[in-house]
């Protein structure tokens, strides 16, 4: 469960987030909104890269804002980035193994968790390849494997479907939908692909100019008049 209370972020005069208060409990929650709405900023506050002007963030009762970013990761907060952050010079498995490094585990347990995550993301065949040889989809999957290996509590995904083909998004959809069953973790998913959000997110929150304009069951939210206005506006803008 994620409890956000009066969260505000200010970047020199711009309110990137403006008093956002929301509680997220669904296994997979979506975050949507037009470009510059504050979606990435929201994740950045959760992972500790952006310090909010006010507010509090709790993950299963744990006050996150008190912890440095790496400690949040060790507490089970995982994320992927809008610009994927796979290391080219490392093998796929090392790219994932790095998450388990700071965690105290037996050698056998470490190997088992790694195998399981690679298998779940369909990377077993390429696990020893250097990441530079991967295609865009495999790179996204490598980053996803990083977020689910071990025992994550909360997985934050920032536009994981960007730049993928229709078929690849379908694979991605299955992987994301299964995270809760696979690792018991709650997921927050940012994406501009409303079909993907509809397919995997039980709940969705909508941001616009840093304000929370709707939150609740995905179907209801997408029917909301304000949300439709914002989204139609965005689609005109981007099309």
């Amino acid at each position: 469960m994620i409890e956000i209370d009066r969260l505000s972020v200010v970047f020199g005069g711009i309110h990137a987030l403006n008093r956002v208060t929301v509680t997220l409990m669904a296994p997979v929650s979506g975050i949507i909104g037009p470009n510059g709405a504050g979606k990435t900023t929201f994740l950045n506050v959760l992972s500790g890269f952006v310090r909010p002007a006010e507010g509090s963030v709790r993950m299963d009762g744990l006050e996150l804002l008190a912890l440095p970013p790496h400690a949040r990761a060790r507490a089970g907060l995982r994320r992927s980035f809008q610009r994927e952050q796979v290391v080219d010079e490392m093998s796929v498995e090392d790219n994932v193994r790095v998450v388990l490094d700071p965690i105290r585990l037996s050698r056998a347990e470490r190997a088992r968790l790694l195998d399981r995550a690679l298998d779940y993301c369909g990377l077993t065949a390429v696990r020893r390849e250097r990441a530079e040889r991967l295609n865009a989809c495999e790179r996204r999957m490598t980053e996803l494997a990083r977020t689910i290996v071990g025992s994550p509590q909360l997985v934050l995904l920032d536009e994981p479907g960007a730049g993928l083909s229709q078929g690849e998004v379908e694979r991605l959809r299955q992987v994301i939908a299964g995270i809760h069953a696979f690792a018991g973790a709650q997921t927050l998913l940012i994406d501009h692909d409303v079909e993907l959000i509809q397919a995997v997110c039980q709940d969705t929150m909508v941001l616009d100019f840093g304000m929370l304009i709707a939150a609740g069951p995905t179907a209801d939210v997408l029917r909301d008049a304000r949300v439709r206005a914002v989204y139609l506006g965005m689609e005109e803008g981007t099309a």
Binding site: S47, F49, F81, Q85, V87, E89, V98, D101
Partner: protein
């Protein structure tokens, strides 16, 4: 050289793999061929070289440790340190102090020298946590300058009394390790330590530290998001780098059996950094090439009747060439060549 230091201080622009396709040969920066080559050198050089060239070769070995210690910091964390000759001096000071003061075995002194310089290296991590690029390079350069002043005041221990151990008269020479008393044996000894240095770096890069550094290099945000404690890993990198430079300083003290405070100016740190880039920070043999340029090239010029300082002009040109056309240095070019040969061999 000082006018050029702004060139190598943009490591991300120079060496990011996005700029150049990574050569396929460059899989692990340290590999078995390093030990093979060192083994061959350890046998061949003492047989072939006279006293003069043996001295030069020993210098090459010692400075290749320094170059590899600079390279690991640059390669893994993208950090420019212009202070490694000063760190060698720290290691050398500790080794001389212990040898003259306590008669402890050379290996113990060497280890302590490494640890002492490693500690000094971690002090440099402090500014490195706050700044990067040119600013960090300048801070490390100032640290090297401060060291040069300090050591000129204190001098290196030479068997005297007191805490500093400096004697004005009756200067004593530090004994070499008993298994490596002759110049030949000492060269082989240095080869062995260089091999250990490669092993230490290789081990770091292949394990947890290497993965953490690689993440930091990708981006600090990405590193933090997978639980890497960026501060700790940077300090760790500096400690390892300082340790190796300190070992090099200790070996230098053992080679000469004393150290002269005047031979540790800040400019030498800049020079050895520049040569590390020219030699190539991304392949294990880059360090050997850098050290050969630093010690061997001037000796060859001198031998040919040319002023050895002419090498510095050549180094300046080589640095510009490296920065403009070969960000992975001479070693990178050799690796590319070997790669092409191997491909041709497998085709034909």
């Amino acid at each position: 050289m000082a006018g050029q230091i702004h060139l190598p201080t943009a490591p991300s622009a120079l060496s990011a793999s996005a700029v150049l396709p990574v050569a396929a040969a460059e899989r692990a920066p340290v590999n078995l061929s390093a030990f093979l080559v060192l083994g061959v050198l350890a046998i061949a050089v003492p047989l072939a070289a006279n006293t003069l060239w043996l001295k030069v070769a020993t210098g090459v070995m010692i400075y290749s440790l320094t170059a590899m210690s600079i390279a690991v910091l640059y390669r893994r964390l993208g950090l420019v340190s212009l202070t490694h000759v000063a760190l060698m001096g720290c290691g050398g000071w500790v080794v001389l102090r212990l040898a003259h003061g306590f008669d402890t075995p050379f290996e113990v002194n060497l280890l302590c020298g490494g640890l002492g310089a490693g500690l000094a290296g971690t002090a440099l991590a402090w500014p490195a946590l706050r700044m990067r690029g040119l600013y960090l390079a300048l801070v490390t350069l100032m640290a090297a300058g401060a060291y040069a002043i300090l050591i000129n005041v204190t001098q290196f221990p030479n068997g005297g009394d007191g805490w500093l151990g400096v004697a004005v008269r009756a200067v004593a020479f530090m004994p070499r390790p008993w298994i490596a008393l002759s110049d030949q044996a000492y060269f082989v000894y240095c080869c062995g330590i260089v091999a250990l240095g490669y092993a230490l770096i290789g081990w770091h890069e292949a394990t947890r530290a290497g993965r953490g550094w690689a993440m930091i290099r990708r981006s600090e945000a990405a590193a933090m998001s997978v639980g890497v404690n960026v501060t700790l890993y940077k300090v760790w990198g500096f400690a390892l780098s300082g340790f190796l430079a300190g070992i090099a300083g200790g070996l230098l003290a053992g080679d000469l059996q004393f150290l002269d405070a005047r031979s540790f100016p800040a400019a030498e740190s800049v020079m050895i950094f520049a040569l590390t880039i020219v030699g190539g920070a991304w392949h294990w043999y880059g360090a050997l090439i850098a050290a050969a340029l630093y010690r061997l090239a001037p000796a060859i010029l001198n031998n040919a009747g040319v002023d050895g300082n002419a090498a510095y002009i050549f180094f300046g040109l080589a640095l510009i060439q490296a920065l403009a056309t070969a960000p992975k240095g001479i070693a990178g070019q050799i690796a590319g060549l070997l790669d092409r040969l191997a491909r041709r061999g497998s085709q034909g």
